[in-house]
């Protein structure tokens, strides 16, 4: 370890201890855990304050060992410990901590005679909460480490990054050692040693080092999964931490990188970076604070809350529009009512926002895949992400990771040229893959772009003709043509690479995106690159819909499946054999589906010219849905119709409308396909 005593910033440690004290007072001892003290110990160790580190470690240990103590006893234990830590920091002559526990065996006895001796129980169940916390925290560290390793690989002058990675492994090691996960501890220890060498500029971080560190994070992640499995009561696979892996890490540390292409590169900037090593890392601090102030909630509870908020909004609307109230001209009442309306709207917004998560985590996963794939394919790729803070529904964010991976894989495999080819074309040999996310008029737009060779319009057309996907003479826009690569028939062909290769797994992408009620658009310029834009709803719980009327029933048509709507004139309409009705819209003939016939209800009018036609889409094919009239556009909260009606065709769900009545949400696909 470096001697960094000269750089000790006592204020930082004081702050940390004060923060713990504040939390102890505000949140109670139950919200403090051994990991808090682990972190303190780690900071102290990094700052070279050995006694304080030991003290913090000991408090952490005694806290864990004394988990069955009563709350007042625990509070006393922790607060006296913190006071001693402060003393230690303020005066070097301070005495040993009263909570000091000289050996692990003593840890089983709660200090200060606060309760009966607790036998140290090694079974997982005893420390389940602690271990779960360990798994969560370590996973977060691993995710952070992974993305930071990638940054480091691109620009290995980042001493801060290296330090932060080092700290991540150090924390994992400490916690694992504390919870007696020997495999994790030993692996983390070896990686830590490796990183320490890099930190002290013994050698530079070569791709081989990155490889071995990333491999280690993978193995660690699997170890964590195995622990989770053990907690769940099933038998995990055998550990993958073996001597071979540890040896590889050690070898990387000793500079023998197994003959990998790019050897150690001298890295002068690390030297100067060491002196600023113990900088206070704001990102880590922020995350930690975030940890303590977030709560896991069962989604069922959230749904229940959403239900009740929905009801509240309805009740509020009903009161606000009640004719009895409108006749009252009491200014105070009016003011209170509008205040109530505002608060209700706020509550609704917050309740909806609770399901939102930033998309950054998915991007980090993608970054890792880009790196691995590019290395395997022998291409040079820089991955850039922006808009990581863009929030969207948790379900959508999770569902998005597969399409993202498929798309970057396609870009790397087929879109991006080899470095030599790129140089020959006069391009930068290093290609760029950009992933961005932003909010755009109530939707989230995720764009993936590369600067590869682009899609070949003509070849796609030729291929589509050959496979019978399109008719000759069809009028198609560029976007229409590019979208053909998502057709299932397109990806099965073995010559996909001939048409810029896009297509492998692309129908999977489209299926995923459609499931999320999203849309994909493609822009591509030959030789310059391709951009995929995925437009997604903010949440799956709310959709924008057209409220339409048929007879006495109101239905919601999701706006995502609506192209346009109009009242037809007689000239637009024609029939086949007097039965099959069709409408001609801008030279396009579309079949007409009468909703009242499909659903067997009494409409207000059966004459097409007196109603409204909604142009909807079923798997890319447009058709017209005939309804009585359009009431308006509205955001609705989707509810399931329930098990009972799960096989009803043409209905995707239902919602509670503004007046408290239930409205059915139509499934355009189902209506079109269900030929009664």
């Amino acid at each position: 370890m470096l001697d960094l005593a000269a750089n000790v910033d006592p204020a930082l440690l004081t702050d940390r201890i004060d923060e713990l004290t504040t939390r102890l007072i505000l949140d109670g001892v139950a919200r403090l855990g051994p990991p808090d003290f682990e972190r303190l110990a780690q900071t102290a160790a990094e700052l070279g304050n050995g006694p304080l580190a030991d003290g913090a470690q000991r408090i952490g240990k005694s806290l864990a060992a004394a988990s069955t103590l009563s709350v007042p006893d625990l509070t006393r234990l922790v607060s006296s410990g913190l006071v001693e830590l402060r003393n230690l920091l303020d005066g070097p002559a301070a005495v040993a901590l009263p909570v000091a526990i000289p050996s692990p065996t003593y840890a089983s006895k709660p200090p200060e005679g606060a309760g009966p001796a607790l036998p140290r129980n090694d079974s997982l169940a005893a420390d389940e909460g602690l271990i779960r916390e360990f798994i969560t925290e370590s996973s977060e560290h691993l995710a952070g480490i992974e993305s930071q390793m990638l940054t480091l690989e691109r620009d290995n002058s980042g001493a801060d990054t290296l330090n932060s990675i080092f700290r991540g492994f150090h924390t994992i090691k400490g916690l694992a050692g504390f919870l007696e996960f020997e495999e994790i501890r030993s692996l983390a220890h070896e990686v830590e040693t490796l990183l320490d060498l890099a930190r002290t500029s013994q050698f530079a971080v070569s791709p081989a080092v990155v490889d071995v560190v990333l491999e280690s994070t993978d193995v660690l992640r699997r170890e964590l999964a195995a622990i989770a499995q053990r907690l769940a009561g099933s038998t995990p696979p055998p550990t993958q931490v073996n001597e071979a892996l540890l040896d590889r890490v050690r070898q990387a540390a000793s500079g023998k990188t197994g003959g990998k292409s790019s050897g150690p590169v001298p890295c002068p900037s690390v030297e100067e970076a060491v002196s600023i090593a113990p900088v206070h890392e704001p990102a880590i601090e922020d995350r930690r604070i975030g940890d303590s102030s977030s709560v896991r909630i069962a989604t069922a509870k959230l749904d229940q809350l959403m239900d009740m908020v929905g009801e509240m909004v309805i009740a509020q609307t009903l009161i606000g529009h009640s004719p009895a109230l409108e006749s009252i001209s009491d200014a105070l009442l009016q003011r209170n009512l509008s205040q109530l309306a505002r608060i209700t709207a706020d509550v609704q917004r917050i309740a909806t926002g609770m399901r939102m998560v930033p998309i950054g985590l998915q991007f980090r996963k993608t970054a890792r895949v880009v790196r691995d794939l590019a290395r395997r394919a022998g291409k040079q790729v820089i991955f850039e992400a922006s808009g990581e803070d863009t929030e969207l529904d948790k379900t959508i964010a999770e569902e998005l990771s597969d399409p993202l991976l498929h798309m970057v894989r396609n870009s790397i495999d087929h879109g991006i040229e080899s470095p030599q080819e790129r140089v020959a074309l006069g391009k930068d040999p290093t290609a760029r893959i950009r992933v961005s996310a932003c909010h755009q008029s109530g939707q989230v737009v995720v764009a993936i772009s590369d600067d590869g060779r682009g899609l070949d319009r003509e070849k796609i057309l030729a291929k589509a003709h050959k496979n019978g996907l399109i008719q000759h003479g069809a009028q198609l826009t560029d976007n229409d043509i590019f979208l053909l690569i998502f057709e299932p028939g397109f990806s099965t062909a073995d010559t996909v690479t001939d048409i810029s290769g896009r297509g492998v797994g692309m129908d999977v992408v489209r299926r995923h995106v459609q499931k999320l009620r999203g849309r994909i658009d493609i822009q591509s310029t030959t030789g310059e690159g391709t951009t995929f834009s995925i437009k997604l709803p903010l949440t799956l719980a709310i959709i924008e819909g057209l409220v339409v009327l048929v007879g006495a029933q109101r239905y919601i048509v999701p706006i995502a499946s609506v192209r346009e709507m109009f009242r037809p004139t007689q000239e637009m309409l024609s029939t086949v054999h007097d039965r099959g009705e069709m409408a001609m819209v801008r030279g396009c003939l579309m079949p007409i589906v009468r909703l009242h016939r499909r659903f067997a209800i009494e409409p207000r009018t059966t004459r097409l010219t007196e109603g409204t036609l909604i142009v909807a889409e079923s798997e890319g094919r447009p058709f017209c849905l005939f309804v009585d009239s359009l009431i308006g556009k509205q955001q609705v909260v989707i509810k399931a119709l329930g098990e009972r009606f799960k096989s009803v065709v043409g209905v995707a769900g239902c919602t509670i409308l503004g007046d408290g009545r239930v409205g059915l949400i139509l499934d355009a696909d189902g209506i079109y396909k269900w030929r009664a």
Partner: protein, 175 residues
Amino acid sequence: MQTTPVPQASSAAPLPLGANNRGGKYLIFHLGAEEFGTEVLKVREIMGMQDITAIPQVPAYVKGVINLRGKVVPVIDLRLKFSMDAQEYTARTCIIVMRTCSSGQELTVGMIVDGVVEVLNLGTSDIEDTPDFGPGVDIPYLIGMAKTKGKVKILLDIDQVLASDELDRFVGTLQ
């Protein structure tokens, strides 16, 4: 919409209804001249008639769904379910929201009846077995018959009446 929450002894689990064990409190309602009884413990609330959203492709007796404080609850017309003539809804018509159990799943279902009469405390001795109507007449959802105040009350095993199996089977054939 006026709703009348029915006080419930939530701690008292509904007893299984065997032949010896049919006594208890029954909510009596009527369809035309016939009076029916259902266990009070399974009644969640009684509400006035309200707008029902129709669902396509379901049997006629399934009138649709209503919004019960944020929950979407299916509603059936008991007259149609029992193959009686349909009748105009009146001010006395109401929806009895029941909590039933079918194949291990808890279901909340509303049933439309002509009107609610009273809550009766029936002893085991008040209840007689269903008479044998002869071959060809099989009514599986009858618990028994109760005779009080000179009138016959038909006691229903509501779990059987509202079991979703029948509906599922019907909807299943559409596929």
